[in-house]
């Protein structure tokens, strides 16, 4: 870790999607974005639907490449890393929560949480123990053997949170984690997310169009006209 505690840094990042096969102009999504995220802090990116919030998160996490600019994770440019190095960073230092709580459908809740730990190199038994502990902490000790289709939307999202935290990452990327939930479940997930982020001292990059949810973060940005504006 660098002395400045700067964990993620985006410098002049631009992204456009190519024209479709049917023709049309390329669509510019992001234009020279600069952004920084420090350890154990949280930032929220808000904006209208289609403003490029998710694209920004995906580029920040190295899931998508940008055309211009650079993304530095812990001082290292993600676009210069090999697949092995990038995979290692994703495994050990990043956690993901997606809007549709993408779980592995062929695996139980317990296995869904244990798999990332196994990918990191932890044995199956200790990985299951770790997963069990985390699922208990998100209140799912009675749903360990249930598969994705046997869980409610809120329960799936709690499994996704436990899965994102199982390898004790430095940064958590959450893309509309409450977007598909009802109000009661959304509030529950919000509370749980912030409690765990605070407890485990994890940096959080939150994408949401929910202003009250965003306001719980240390910093709030808005994506507008392909640029990032500081809200708070």
């Amino acid at each position: 870790m660098t002395k400045s505690n700067k964990i993620l840094s985006l410098k002049g990042v631009s992204k456009s999607f190519p024209a479709t096969a049917r023709g049309g102009e390329p669509i510019d999504i992001l234009d020279s974005i600069d952004l920084e995220l420090h350890t154990a802090t949280s930032i929220a990116i808000t904006g209208k639907s289609g403003s490029g919030k998710s694209t920004l998160l995906q580029i920040s996490a190295g899931l998508l490449s940008s055309e211009k600019g650079e993304v530095l994770f812990d001082g290292r440019r993600l676009d210069t890393l090999s697949d092995t190095q990038l995979s290692r960073i994703r495994s050990t230092s990043m956690g993901f929560i997606f809007q549709s709580s993408l779980l592995l459908d062929d695996f139980t809740a317990l296995e869904n949480v244990a798999v990332p730990a196994m990918i990191m190199g932890i044995g199956e038994k200790p990985a299951r123990e770790k997963a069990l502990h985390l699922l208990e902490s998100v209140g799912l000790s009675d749903r360990l053997g249930h598969k994705s289709d046997q869980l409610s939307g809120g329960e799936r999202q709690r499994v996704a949170i436990a899965r994102a935290l199982v390898n004790e990452p430095l940064i958590l990327f959450a893309d509309e984690p409450t977007g598909s939930l009802d109000e009661r479940n959304a509030a529950l997930i919000e509370d749980m997310l912030f409690a765990l982020v605070a407890e485990k001292q994890v940096a959080l990059m939150l994408i949401t169009h929910n202003a009250p949810f965003a306001s719980r973060c240390d910093e709030v940005y808005r994506l507008h006209n392909r640029k990032v504006e500081v809200i708070r």
Partner: protein, 388 residues
């Protein structure tokens, strides 16, 4: 971890796409079974035909003699039988004839006089009467209605003449025995007698020596050539060169057809592997976002493909073994249509080659498939619609 995930994606009951794995394995098993059985049948049919040819028609090795003296011939037979590679040696001679039986029907054929020994003796079955009686002919069961036991038949043959080169000659001879063998062509065209009787019909009939050996006929012929330079031994392959060539061609064509079946298997593996990988594309993206390296993803799906192919191949091998073991019970029912009892055996080297080819191609197809999928960004893989 790789094994844990590969097993889950192969046949685990937790796997939503288990049905696809089962269908792939089932398809492989059936194809392997079909190829193995066709190969075994083809080989058994050929071996059966070759065996008949060697037993009744041309023997393992034969050599024409330049004389017709039976005593000299018998002395040579004794010398040949003392050779280590020769199991049985015997004199034989044959002449072409037209034979007219009851009802006036004339049949073209040959009279063969032979010292019945070895495989010929064992394969020759007596139906009625006594075979090789002096002054009598034996006809086959096929001609029973026109040449029953005891009936006199009229024989027309060509003999060396004094003024003309050959002249027709006619003799009447009784049927003293009825035989049958497993070779239809032999039975339909051959009448048997002893050498003295044949020479009483035609004193100029060419005399030959037949040889049976459990060793390779080429080696036997070479040994005879070395020890008896005056003889020109001919192996059964040389004596039936055109038939042997045709059967070799038939085998090549069958191999070509089997190669096409293998091509069908390969297309089946490739399509199934692609379908399975497409179905798992979103899960691959998820695993990648969790930090699973591309090489690990490939290992998982190659291992998964190998597990499916191994199960399919094992099922195919078991089916093939069962088919071959159960065939004797079934062969009585198909005897009437095939006309022969076949001893089918499993060709282990061929089967091993097929299994190894299936395993290799399954692994390769999966490797290529995952490599193609992994070229896309993780988010592009996420956007892929799940294949049901």
């Amino acid at each position: 971890m790789v094994l844990f995930l590969a097993k889950r994606y192969a046949f685990s009951s937790e796997n939503r796409h288990k049905g696809t794995s089962v269908r792939i394995a089932f398809g492989l098993a059936l194809c392997l079974f079909a190829i193995t059985m066709v190969l075994s049948f083809m080989q058994a049919l050929q071996e059966n035909q070759f065996e008949d040819i060697r037993t009744f028609e041309s023997f393992d090795v034969q050599a024409s003699l330049s004389f017709t003296d039976l005593e000299r011939g018998n002395a040579l037979v004794g010398e040949l039988e003392s050779l280590p590679l020769v199991d049985h040696a015997f004199l034989f001679s044959e002449i072409p004839v037209l034979i007219q039986g009851n009802g006036g029907t004339a049949l073209a054929g040959r009279i063969r006089a032979i010292q019945s020994k070895g495989a010929f003796k064992e394969g020759l079955n007596l139906y009625r009467g006594v075979l090789f009686q002096e002054g009598m002919l034996s006809s086959s069961y096929l001609h029973l209605s026109s040449m029953p036991l005891g009936a006199s038949v009229e024989i027309t043959l060509l003999k060396k003449g004094k003024q003309a080169t050959v002249i027709p000659s006619q003799r009447t001879m009784p049927i003293g025995g009825v035989f049958y063998t497993s070779m239809y062509d032999f039975d339909s065209s051959t009448y048997l007698t002893d050498l003295d009787t044949l020479y009483s019909l035609n004193a100029d009939a060419p005399l030959s020596i037949g040889i049976f050996s459990s060793e390779k006929s080429d080696l036997v012929a070479r040994e005879i050539r070395q020890k008896f330079p005056s003889l020109e031994p001919v192996t059964w392959k040389e004596a039936n060169a055109s038939l042997y060539g045709a059967m070799q061609l038939e085998q090549s064509m069958m191999s070509l057809m089997l190669l096409m079946m293998v091509a069908v298997i390969i297309i089946h593996i490739r399509n199934s592997s692609r379908r399975l990988l497409l179905a798992k594309q979103r899960e691959i993206a998820m695993l990648r976002s969790m930090g699973l390296m591309k090489s690990r993803v490939q290992q998982i799906f190659v291992l998964q493909a190998l597990i499916v192919a191994a199960v399919g191949s094992l099922a195919g091998v078991l089916l093939s073994i069962s088919g071959i073991l159960l065939y004797p019970n079934f062969s009585q029912r198909v005897y009437s249509s095939l006309g022969v009892h076949l001893n089918i055996t499993l060709n282990i080297p061929n089967l091993l080659v097929l299994v190894v080819a299936i395993l290799c191609f399954s692994g390769f197809a999966s490797y290529i498939g995952t490599r193609r999928i992994l070229k896309a960004d993780i988010m592009e893989m996420f956007a892929h619609d799940e294949v049901k």
